[in-house]
Amino acid sequence: MSAYSATEPSAASKWVAGTLVTLYMVITLLPLAWIISTGFKTGPDSISYPPKVIFSPSIEGYVNLFTDRTRATPEQLATMPPPENFVDEIVQRRGEVITGPSRFGERFLNSVIIGFGSTFLSIFLGTLAAYAFSRFKVPLKDDLLFFILSTRMMPPIAVAIPIFLMYRELGLSDTHLGMILLYTGVNISLAVWLLKGFIDEIPREYEEAALIDGYTRFQAFRKVVLPQAATGIASTAIFCLIFAWNEYAFAVLLTSGTAQTAPPFIPTIIGVGGQDWPAVAAGATLFLLPVMIFTILLRKHLLRGITFGAVRK
């Protein structure tokens, strides 16, 4: 009889567990794989029955995503100059001509600007507040922390009603600044809670030593605490960025043109006649891929992020 341990699972149970989890993983990743592969299909391939797993890849979806096109008659096409590049060729083969670039690029850029802008602001303000909450006696500390967290729980649609009215008065509706401020307001609670957890873990002795060496409190914060908290700040920033990147409710209610981000835009992508699934899939792929990469980078801190720093593993 081999050595028996109460805590080490047997080889057989490991094998069963591994198989079941692998099965779940395959099923759960299938929709994601489908999104990515549909982006490389042609229109007819994407809606064929039975669904095509093996197909000849095409970048038609991506071409459609970035261009606006119109249908052209064969006579019109005949009078056109021969296609200059592969993009024109793909479009003309389908009997269409490019009328201009689509608005996807713009919307994607808006997502980047608003995402990074609000992340920067919430990290900047959040780090200061978290440091104060972690190190100083702030009056009503628990109430303030609860208040800060509760703001994140508010239903977005409920908040959007007065924000809509307020922004209309202030001229902030459909502006980058308005969206950055709004997302900062939502993200700052997460930033404060997460960063407070990270800063709590830095021993106070470091700062005290720095203070004795003649640093002021502010210098100690900048030169001792900030470098120590760098990992925490980085992972908090990624969490804020992902939230702002993914947000839909505020974006669809408060933006319509100049400041519209990608999530409300992608569902409105339609081709010439009907929803253009390869283009939607291409847009979704470009939009989701950065988040997938960030998630993998963030895996060690995921648990902290989703529990506001309460569970540290």
Partner: protein, 319 residues
């Protein structure tokens, strides 16, 4: 500092601010730094959250309409609240929300706990698999919801095809999002797909927080595996599970983005969750006063649940 013995509160206070140190601190006092650091956050939250909230409360007692801002404002007292809380249609949307809430939590807890329990067997590659399984929950619900409408297409959709493949029911014979009986389940499936990893991660943390010696002691006592599971594993994981359930409960109570893109509330109001109904009232019918009262009702409910959530959070933090 290691050599100081455990001290009375007075001693600890004295140690916190040694005189040599206090003298060295130049510039601003700690107190003013604390205020300077906290104030911008509080001000921003007051401007973006509290001021609008107070405005909403005020509007909820009026018949204001945002598309006709110049009409005279009439105070209607509690009539908006009265209308909402006695309206069978609103009650109906709350039940649709309840259906969504209950079943998503049910499946997510079941699957999430089972997965965590399996992953905790520590088989080879479990870290990598955990990371991959987690992916769906970090993605944009709007984009994901939009794409699932494609997966749910009758005839050409992947889901319908998979159902045909497994059960033999023809793929074109049913539409998940278009049928009154299937649509409420279609949204449950997508939400479960997306958020099971969330429950799984938190349960996994709970399972890993159980020290090994507890099981070793139980083995010595010859407690059966089944008994160990119910008397030790489950109670130890329960606070974590509560946390996950409360958070998902709050999130799904105010669910908007995913479902609005999947079904938009249809067919025939079967998936009309409270947030979607609120959006229609506020931004399509422009009954701002009425929807402000509606918003306050949702808000108070969420706020109440959030207080319980923070209590649960602190409980887990102490572990």
């Amino acid at each position: 500092m290691q050599d100081t013995p455990p001290a009375t509160p007075a001693d600890r206070l004295a140690r916190a601010t040694p005189p040599t140190l206090a003298r060295k601190v130049r510039g601003l006092s700690d107190r003013s730094i604390a205020w300077i650091f906290v104030a911008p956050t509080i001000l921003l939250l007051l401007a973006i959250n509290i001021f609008p909230l107070i405005w909403t409360i005020r509007l909820s007692f009026t018949n204001f309409r945002a598309n006709r801002p110049n009409e005279p404002l009439e105070w209607v007292g509690l009539r908006n609240y009265e209308r909402i809380l006695t309206d069978p249609d609103v009650w109906q949307t709350m039940q649709a929300t309840a259906h969504f809430l209950f079943w998503t939590l049910f499946f997510q807890v079941l699957l999430g706990f089972a997965l965590a329990w399996l992953i905790n067997r520590k088989f080879r590659g479990n870290d990598l698999m955990t990371t991959l399984i987690v992916l769906p929950m970090m993605l944009s619900p709007a984009v994901v919801g939009n794409f699932w409408t494609f997966l749910y297409q009758p005839q050409i959709g992947l889901i319908n095809y998979a159902v045909e493949f497994v059960t033999g029911i023809p793929a074109s014979s049913f539409t998940m999002l278009g049928s009154v009986s299937l649509a409420p389940w279609a949204i449950v499936i997508v939400d479960t797909w997306m958020w099971t990893p969330f429950v799984m991660l938190i349960c996994l943390a709970g399972l890993r927080s159980i020290p090994d010696y507890i099981y070793e002691a139980a083995e010595i006592d010859r407690a059966s595996k089944w008994r160990q599971f119910w008397t030790m594993t489950v109670p130890m994981v329960l606070p974590f599970l509560m946390l996950a359930v409360l958070f998902r409960g709050i999130e799904n109570f105010k669910m908007f983005d995913l479902v609005v893109l999947l079904t938009g509330g249809g067919p025939g109001d079967t998936t009309l969750l409270s947030s979607i109904e609120l959006k229609r009232e506020a931004f399509e019918k422009w009954r701002t006063g009425y929807s402000s009262a509606y918003a306050i009702i949702l808000f108070v409910t969420v706020f109440g649940l959030a207080s319980i959530y923070v209590k649960a959070l602190n409980k887990v933090k102490e572990r």
